[in-house]
Structure formats: structure tokens, C-alpha cells
Symmetry: C2
Subunit: 511 residues, 2 copies
Amino acid sequence: MGSLHQFENKSVSPIKPLDSEEFRRQGHLIIDFIADYYKNSERYPVRSQVEPGYLRKQLPESAPYNPEPIETILKDVEEHIVPGITHWQSPNYFAYFPSSGSTAGFLGEMLCSGFNVVGFNWVSSPAATELENIVMDWLGEMLKLPKSFLFSGNGGGVIQGTTCEAILCTIAAARDQTLRKIGTENIGKLVVYGSDQTHSALQKAAHIAGINPKNFRAIKTSKSSSFCLSPDSLQETIGSDIEDGLIPLFLCATIGTTGITAVDPLQQLGDVAKRYGIWVHIDAAYAGSACICPEFRHFLDGIENADSFSFNAHKWFFTNLDCCCLWVKNPNALIQALSTNPEFLRNKASDSKEVVDYKDWQITLSRRFRALKLWLVLRSYGVVNLRKFLRSHVKMAKVFEELVGSDKRFEIVAPRYFSMVCFRVSPSVLFKTNKYENGKANNDVEKVEKSNEVTENLLQKINASGKAYMSHAIVGGMYVIRFAIGASLTEDHHVTAAWKVVQQHLDAILN
Amino acid sequence: MGSLHQFENKSVSPIKPLDSEEFRRQGHLIIDFIADYYKNSERYPVRSQVEPGYLRKQLPESAPYNPEPIETILKDVEEHIVPGITHWQSPNYFAYFPSSGSTAGFLGEMLCSGFNVVGFNWVSSPAATELENIVMDWLGEMLKLPKSFLFSGNGGGVIQGTTCEAILCTIAAARDQTLRKIGTENIGKLVVYGSDQTHSALQKAAHIAGINPKNFRAIKTSKSSSFCLSPDSLQETIGSDIEDGLIPLFLCATIGTTGITAVDPLQQLGDVAKRYGIWVHIDAAYAGSACICPEFRHFLDGIENADSFSFNAHKWFFTNLDCCCLWVKNPNALIQALSTNPEFLRNKASDSKEVVDYKDWQITLSRRFRALKLWLVLRSYGVVNLRKFLRSHVKMAKVFEELVGSDKRFEIVAPRYFSMVCFRVSPSVLFKTNKYENGKANNDVEKVEKSNEVTENLLQKINASGKAYMSHAIVGGMYVIRFAIGASLTEDHHVTAAWKVVQQHLDAILN
């Protein structure tokens, strides 16, 4: 940090918070800074190597009294912030799910932040609402969603920040719809269903919405059914809840679970849910994007039975964080749960009911003009390139899958449907190597434990190398490495290089 | 829109979503576009003049199949989006509360969006968490918050999107803290308190959190006490609830209410709340900013009694949307209500408990690196300029207040504490003018109705002129015009010009 006093003289000249020429000068500086960052993104260790508490030692204890020039601040970003960043935009980033930024997504964010409108209702900035209506219909069509999810079919889409918000809003809508029939005093009887592979967002949202924590069901899945939620298990669980006097409320089915991208059987789950009037939400946070390609669309078959559907354009759709796209068949259910009508927001357009007021479709009142970035992404790349990008990632994943398959020391753990490969060090192979063969009877439990230990060790070494970043899951007791392709800068050679890193580190461990 | 086919040829050349040189080229284009927008911001009618449905007529029905160049898209932004925007950044914007963007806030957003990290926990990008810890402590110190709200005092701050989220999180924390003592089955007995001036965010958050809608109390305020929440009324309401077997849970007190910037008496309200173990949240969404100036800090006196405090840096603190700063004394209460520990996020740093994992302090898992923009704002302007900016707005508001006071046709409706002036057309004067004098007995109700009618009519004419944009509130039955200063481009002459617009339109109405 520059001395806090060296710029004291500057503070007497009038600084304006939004002088257009100073904005221009500094804006160009930052564009170059970020462009250079992308250009050099491979130079940095992918996962940050800092230790907890590193930053407090480097920054002053208090905010500066006097202003500091942008050049000083940028130098600090370079020296103190960049080393503390895990580089989600690195081509060698394969952890969690991607956060696929793009030029168009970034520019859309700039326009959003530049106009800086607060689009809580239509009148507060009509374009913010109307463009969102339009792009959500465009995108819904690209995904071939049933017409009933589109504005043109009396449903509608809304951009939320994240899936957590989308699920919380739909649970609140379902909850209120049911409580209107059975009375608010019965909130303690409502039950929410998912599988043990469903994202933790579901449990958290149910909890926030006041669902009794005892009434959250994470139905067990198994390797034999590829970790999908079984309709029979759902039926059974519901039956038992009803016997106990509880009331089934909400089911979240997933297309591409976080752990291993399992795909729940929408059609059959929907059939079960329908019998009990359960609200069905489909969470396709990561994999939804792929469904704009005809060859992947079948994963959404059965969506007709659902009440709501969401995917995160900020994951694998080149739209910078945050942008969760949620569609509902019955916007009124959302609105009845989430609307407020304070006097200070009353206006002719809202009173006329001719417009959408998105404040009533989400948790928050204030909202950013996120539709701009989605619009820019759709237009800058067009359907043709978006499909190309997604397919290229899937192709890379196939190549990686083949590489894993060709090395007998590894095992693919679950079917690869999209751009993520889940693998582990094979238990059977481990017990053939000298290091781990020690004459004991090798029972299955022991084998799995050994595989888990070696796989975890391997992952830690890979990530500590800084050459690639991957993450893990535990499914059916197996520790697996998740290799998720989708960073916008990743090319074929990054994937093969990452595979070499995996092999080299296993070599080192086994020898 | 350009023809969807004219660029078909381009689509065969390989488009990359994040090519650094293309990013640089397009980024510079957008910087100039936005800088020009600020430069010309006075040219546009402040409130958009479009009619509902205007945009669908201008955009194609589907997303383009082929890519379109940024130049075409920017032309469409200019032609189709800008007319549909209500210009919150215009110097003539005085509606709602400000959305005070700044160069530093914008640059911070760019860096956030450029790095595009997903900082759900420490390891996912240590700098994102640690910088947030630091700036929240810096800002807490600037506001002279009790040490117990800072990390350095075992409390802590977190950046949320909006006040709605901040309140929802704190209600969930309070709810769970109480339910752990009294049992989940008693959720239907919990009561949430605010005044009839409290932001609708409170009622909505309570509702989302599963608080029985019948147990939300909007305690009546009156003109005689400047629309503050009376501690006596609170005491009385609580007493009556307890008699009915209900359990007081949560109080939201406000510094600077949305309607007329009333200031609730924190000290006495806190004393009442303490007697019943009620969680006290202080919402200073707009006015909190001012409290970094020593002369305004007294508005926070009594904050020692509170459990949580929030203000929106995106309102009147030059930090682009969205950035709500929330501090709590007991982070554990938040964490117990909001934490999830899915396996895929497990890591050494989190297990060690040495780090903050902000996913457990908020509704959502994914989170943007918002601390960057707050950091840039604090450093680019320094405490000295931030105070200067805020004081200049307050000074402008004083001038406006004097102008209103000097025209006998108007009446200031509530004390002006900050940068907002609330006024209406004076009932007594109206009945002296020819147009409205019609020989009837002018009782008080009739007078108020007439004033309301003329004031509303006046506001509509002002806003339709496009020369300035103001908004309204209804308090104690009075329709009032809210004139909120805080747009970053507003200077003295814009305020005097806006006043002339007000006068001219009243002239036209009365003659």
C-alpha cells in the first residue's frame, strides 16, 4: 500500500465520484488490467496457495483518510489480491462446476453496472423488466421448455442470483399454496423431498422457509442406480410420511447432481409427485445449459410434469456471476408468496396489471439489470456458437474419460453425461501394488478405504502443485475426483496436460 | 437489430468466448459507451417515457442463431434499451433513494466480474473472504460501531445483496435461536415487530421465514412523534402479545425510514426489547452512510443494544448495486441457522475453523467478490472525500428545504435529517386559491384530500416532464413528494432547477 499521506495534496483538488472523463481514463486502465490477467492466466497456481490470515498482514488497519490513485490500488490488486485468488477463469480450472465468464457476459455486467438502475418494478426501469421477459422466453425456447413455462404461455421466467434463491422462492410459493388450503398452523407438517445427491441448497432453503428440519427427506441413492433418485423410494417415503400424518409438499429433482452429475428420472418422479399434488422443482444448475443442444435435450423429458425449473447461466453458459434462470408455470403462486405493495412503489403501470413487477418474483426488492448480460451472451455468440462451446467441452471430457479408462490404475465412478468425469484410484489395482499389498485379507471395505485414502492424497497433491485444480465428492462411500470442464479458456491441450499431472502424481505416490 | 443472417459467414471463423485481445477491444468500446452515457446523461428524460410492452415490438421473437458484432448490439442498446431506462444516474434523479454509482464502485465491479470467482468459502478464493473481513472492519470503524460488531471484537460483517436478504438472515438466526429453547413446534407463536413506517422488507422476510403472517406487527406511528416507533407502543403491543400466549422474537428499528426518513429511538426501543430477549436489528439502509460524519453519528446512539445492523452501500455510498453491509454481534447465531456442510465443499481450512466461510452467513452458496468494490470506493475517495460527498448532498437538501419553505404554497411535512426533503402542497393555501375555493365548509379531511389530490397531480406532471424524477409516500394520510438527493452527478444547479420545475408545474395547475 502506498503511504496514506503522500496524496494528501490531491485531496484538496475536487474529486468527483462520477466524472465522465476520469471514468473513461480509469475504465480503460482496468480493461487492460483484466485483459492482461486473462492473457497471463496460466502463470498463476490455479488454487491460491496463501495461508489463512495472509491479507490482514498486508493491508492497513483502517480505511485511508485521504484518496489514493487507481494506479496504486491496481498495484495492490496485483500484489496482494491476485495471489489470494483461486483462478476460476484459468484454463486449468476443473474444480466444483465452472464459472464460465466470457467477453459478452463481462460487457453485459459493465452495462448493468454502468446504468446502475434498480429494477424492482416495471416503472423503475421498464427496459430492465421487459428485456428480462424477452430473454427468458428466448432461452426457454432454446431449451424447448413446454410453452406453459414461457410468458407467451402464461408462465414466465425470472433471473435470480443463485439456485438457492430460486429454490427458496419456489418452496415459499408451494408452502403458501398448501397452507392456504390446510391452515398456517399446519406448517410443521409439511415435508420436502430430495435425494442424498440433491444440492444442499434444498435443505437450506427448506430450513429458511420454516419447514421443520425433521421433515426434510434426503432419500438414499445407490451405485446400482447410478445415484439417481428412485421413484419407488420416493413413493415409499411419501407413503410413510402420510401414514405419520405429515403432508408432502415439495420435490426437487436434479439434472446433473453436484457430486457426480446423476440425472433423476423426471418422468416417473413427476408421476409419483402428481398423485400427491407435490410441487416439483427441477434443478439443472450445471447441466441445464447442455440442453440447448438437440442431442442433450432428452435429459429434460418429463419436465412437463414440473412446476418450476432452474439452471445457472453463470455456471456453464458464459454469463458472468450471478445469473440463475428460473421458470415457473404459475407466476401467481410466486407472487402470492412474495409480493408486497408498499405505497412508495405504487404506480399506474403496476395498478393496471399490464406489467411484470419482478420484486414479487424474488426475495429481494432491489435487483440488478442482469438481463443485459444474458442478452449480450445470446447475441454475441448466437445459438450456433453456444452449442459449439458446450460441445467442445463435452468432447474434451470424452477425451479425458478415455485417458482415464486407458490407465488401469484408475476407475471411472459414474456415467459421464456432460462435461464432468468422476474417477478414483482403482481399489483392485491398489492391492496388487507392492506398497499396499501387505498380506492381509483384502476385504471390500478395506479396499474402498485404501482407494479413498490414495485418491484423496492424490487430489491434494495435484491441487498443491498449482498446475490444475480439481475437487472431490464422496458417493456411496467412495472418495472420487471430480474433473469438470467448462472454464472458457480451456482448450484440448490443457485437458491432456491435466491428465499428465494426475498420472505423475499417482506415480510418485505409488513408487 | 441487424439481420440475423448477415453475419453467417462470421460464424465459421472460430469465436472464442474469452479471447484476451477481443476482450480488450470490446471492453474499451464499452468504457467509451458508458463514459459518453454519463457525459450526456442530462439529455434523457429522467423517468423513462415508454409504454408497457414497448420492447417486444422492437426485438426479434427468438434468440439469433448466428453471432452478432458488438457494434450492432451497442446500437440496439442505444436505440432500444436506453429509452426504456429510468436514469438513476441522472443528476436530475431525486426519486426513491439514490443508487449512487461511482467510478471506483464501477471499477470494483469490473474486477469482481473479471476475476469471476465464486467465493462461497475461504478456500474457493481466500482473498474474497479476507478482503471482505477487512473492509467490513474498516467500515465498521468508520461508523464507530461498537467493537462487538467487528471481527476484531468477535462479531463480524458480511456483504449481502440487499437489506431484504440481511433481514431474512437475521430473522432466521433469531428464530432458530429461540426455537432451540422452546421447540420447533412453536414457530407459530413467534412475533416480529416494526412500525407502519418500517420497510416492507421486514414483513416479507418474516413471511418467507415462516413466521405466521398474523404475528407481524406494524405498530402505528403518528405525525406528533415525527412518525417514529414509540417505545411505549412497542411495550404495549408486546405485553398484549404475551398475554395472548405469543412469543416476541424480533424488532426492526429504522434510522431513516423509506417514507420520510424518520429515526426510531434506538436507546429506548433497545431497553424495551432487552426486557423480553428480543433480537434487535437496525435498518439504516439509506441513512447509515451519513453516520461516517461525526455530526451524524449520534443517530446511531443506542446501537450498543442491537444484535445486528445493516446499511446499503449501494444507496448513498457510491458503491454500485448491489452491496448491503450487515454486521452481527453473534456470527454463530447466523451460522447455526444458515450453515450447510456438503462433502464437496469440505476442506482443511474450513475444518481448522481458522477461516470465515461466508456461505454460512447468507442465503446463497455462490457469492460474488463484492468486497473489491467497497475497497476501491474507500481507497479511491478516502474518508475525507466520502464525507465531503455526503455533506454536499445534505447541504443541497438544506437549500432545497429553504426554497420550499420560502414558497407559502408548500409545506415541509417531516423533519429533514439527511438529504431528503418531504413536502406537499399546503392544504390551507389551496383553499385560498380561486380554483379550489367553492364555498364549501373546508373541514380538515376535505383539506387533506384536496392537498393529496393536487400534490399527486403535481408529482405526475413533474415526472411526465422528464426534467426531474421524484417519488411519493403517504404518511399519516398525507400524500407527500419525496425529494431525495444523492445521485453522484447532482450539483447545486440541478437542485435549484428541479425546484423551478416544481414551481412551474404548480403554477400551471393552480392557474
